[in-house]
């Protein structure tokens, strides 16, 4: 990697990228394949916290994210500030969004439609799955058409999963994830450590072990601890990224800009720059994340090959999705948390299922500029669209788990945070309904792309990261490729 000082960064570049997480780096991955001679500057607010540093310190960043915003909501919000962004802290679940996720308004009359379809993203999903690479099963085509075979074999499911999958009509599948099942290029295989934000073997994809070709590209320069405050606009074009380092102001000029901070700071920087569009800083949120604990009678759990083994899609796309959100069950094989069953001799007769529940993004929830130094995050809490769905999902569990010797099912808690910031710079067809278009280009300032999960117009049903990466690769291809 070629790091530069702030003074060296205050130059003129072909491309200036703000932030270095999934959205930014997958954009650059494709962009540099198409335009390898472009001079690229990455401005990263955080430091370069190496993988070894993270393992030693047992944290992903030296910046406590709660000091970077004012939270005026009942929920918590988490992210990683540092080179590589959330590639450091993520747990690597890598399912595609479901085809129905892209057409919620058309199919069910709620939320919004995306300006891209599942089919539009299939080629880019495949590219990302091969870059990371993703380990997954070969039977997902029925739910996610065009999946085919994953580059790595799937993780071993638990014996509880095997029993559920023996049930006729099941929708229970091994979760695709970017944790290796086979060693590759010096990276070890997943050892089911159940602490994936500090993956001890290198099995989990991160920017450092999977996108070094981008970070170390001959024409890429990286300036860390560069806090971008705003973008300068002139004659409808973004001209400069204004940033501070060590209390001094600098500006990096460029022909093209990629804003890939995160769901809090993308809209914050847009607002500070006077860059508008419908929904800048609004429609912000994340899925509801709940935990259910199941006591088993005689069945020994925790024999899967990774931290979460299967997901169950039986309540993803239902006829009632107009009234209650998609719910997806994740079958946990995490032996550390919440811990073993507290009954002598029956320690393993316990299964935890976590549930992701879709909510409708509300225009009133978002990132606000109150004139202070920090963005203010306001969120009113989950709507009945999510809470009703959670109730229904828990109610459906006895039937879902009928193949298992279940003693009891207890809804345990709704977690305060999921870690999937979404919305706040949504994509859509026109500036009347969104901030960016299907190519992630700002509707008015056409030399500005806003990448990452902030562009999502709806939450979707499953983990958003693979889709954010695929959207970035598609955008880069359409922006830099032959017209």
């Amino acid at each position: 990697m070629q790091f530069v000082t702030a003074l060296e960064a205050a130059d003129t570049w072909d491309v200036v990228v703000v932030g270095s997480g999934f959205g930014s780096l997958f954009f650059l991955k494709r962009y540099l394949e198409l335009k390898p001679n472009s001079r690229v500057l990455i401005l990263e607010r955080g430091r370069h916290n190496t993988t070894d540093w993270q393992l030693e310190q047992h944290k992903n960043s030296d910046v406590e994210e709660s000091t970077t915003f004012v939270n005026e909501s009942p929920k918590e919000w988490v992210y990683t500030i540092g080179l590589g962004g959330s590639t450091n802290c993520w747990w690597a679940q890598s399912p595609r969004l479901h085809p129905s996720d892209f057409a919620l308004k058309t199919r069910h009359g709620v939320g919004a439609d995306w300006p891209v379809t599942y089919d539009d993203l299939v080629p880019y999903y495949r590219q990302v799955e091969r870059i990371m690479p993703v380990a997954g099963p070969d039977d997902l085509d029925s739910e996610f058409p065009g999946t085919g075979s994953y580059p790595q074999k799937p993780h071993r499911m638990s014996s509880a999963d095997e029993l559920i999958r023996a049930t006729p009509g099941h929708k229970h599948f091994v979760i695709p994830n970017a944790r290796l099942t086979e060693t590759l290029n010096g990276r070890g295989r997943c050892c089911a450590s159940s602490e994936c934000n500090f993956c001890p073997t290198g099995a989990k994809f991160t920017a450092f072990n999977g996108l070094q070709d981008v970070l170390s590209h001959r024409n890429v320069r990286i300036c860390t601890e560069a806090h971008v405050r705003s973008l300068d606009v002139e004659a409808g074009q973004v001209r400069k990224a204004v940033f501070t380092q060590g209390g001094k102001d600098y500006a990096a000029a460029g022909d093209f800009f990629v804003l890939g901070a995160n769901g809090v700071f993308n809209p914050w920087i847009l607002m500070k720059s006077g860059i508008g569009g419908h929904g800048v800083g609004r429609y912000f949120g994340e899925k509801l994340h709940a935990s259910v604990e199941i006591l088993l009678d005689g069945h020994q759990h925790f024999d899967g090959g990774t931290v979460q083994t299967c997901f169950n899609l039986s309540r993803l796309e239902t006829p009632t999705r107009g009234e209650m959100g998609a719910a997806v069950y994740y079958f946990e094989n995490n032996i550390r948390r919440p811990g073993l069953r507290m009954t002598q001799g029956r320690w393993r007769e316990f299964l935890q299922v976590t549930i992701y529940v879709e909510d409708i993004l509300q225009e009133t929830n978002g990132i606000f500029d109150e004139g202070g130094e920090l963005p203010v995050v306001r969120h009113a809490g989950f709507t009945p669209y999510a809470t009703k769905s959670l109730q229904a999902a828990v109610g459906a569990m006895p039937e879902l788990l009928r193949a298992l010797p279940v003693e009891s099912i207890e809804m345990k808690e709704i977690y305060p945070v999921l870690g999937h910031l979404q919305g706040s710079a949504r994509m859509g067809l026109t500036k009347a309904d969104s901030v960016v278009d299907a190519d992630l280009l700002h509707h008015e300032h056409r030399n500005l792309a806003v990448v990452g999960t902030s562009a999502f117009p709806t939450l979707g049903s499953v983990n958003p990261t693979l889709t954010a990466a695929a959207l970035s690769m598609r955008a880069a291809e359409r922006i830099a490729g032959p017209r």
Partner: protein, 146 residues
Amino acid sequence: MKMLTPSRRTFLLGGAGLAVVGAGAGALAATGTLERYLAKLVLHTFVRERIELESLDVFVAEFISHADPGTISKATMLTRTARLVGVKGLDVALVGHDAYADFKRRLVTQFLLNSDYFQRASATVPIHCHEWTGVCVNPFARFDDA
């Protein structure tokens, strides 16, 4: 990239070999107050088992060194209360208390995963706490093909 291995923290463990074997909550496995409370809670939970006390001391020290500040704060408060009512009395008094249950579950789970409890030849063999595993801790995980 440097890899963490289970042996990485071996230097912390010194020469904890076979030593005193305790049976029952009356044994004092450690000298510090917080350490003593945690050791007693383990002994109370496994009152019918025999545990090598010297290795339990090491486990408790490792548990404390790996715990987050919230867990330590919670354990310190429990230690103070246990001075008044005893470990067993506190355990009974807090039945059904979610935060206590979560804390105890975490402690017991770590004890089970950082000892030879699941690997012992028989239940009569004293439990030995081994090197703090820290990573790759699931002894039941299957990595072979289905």
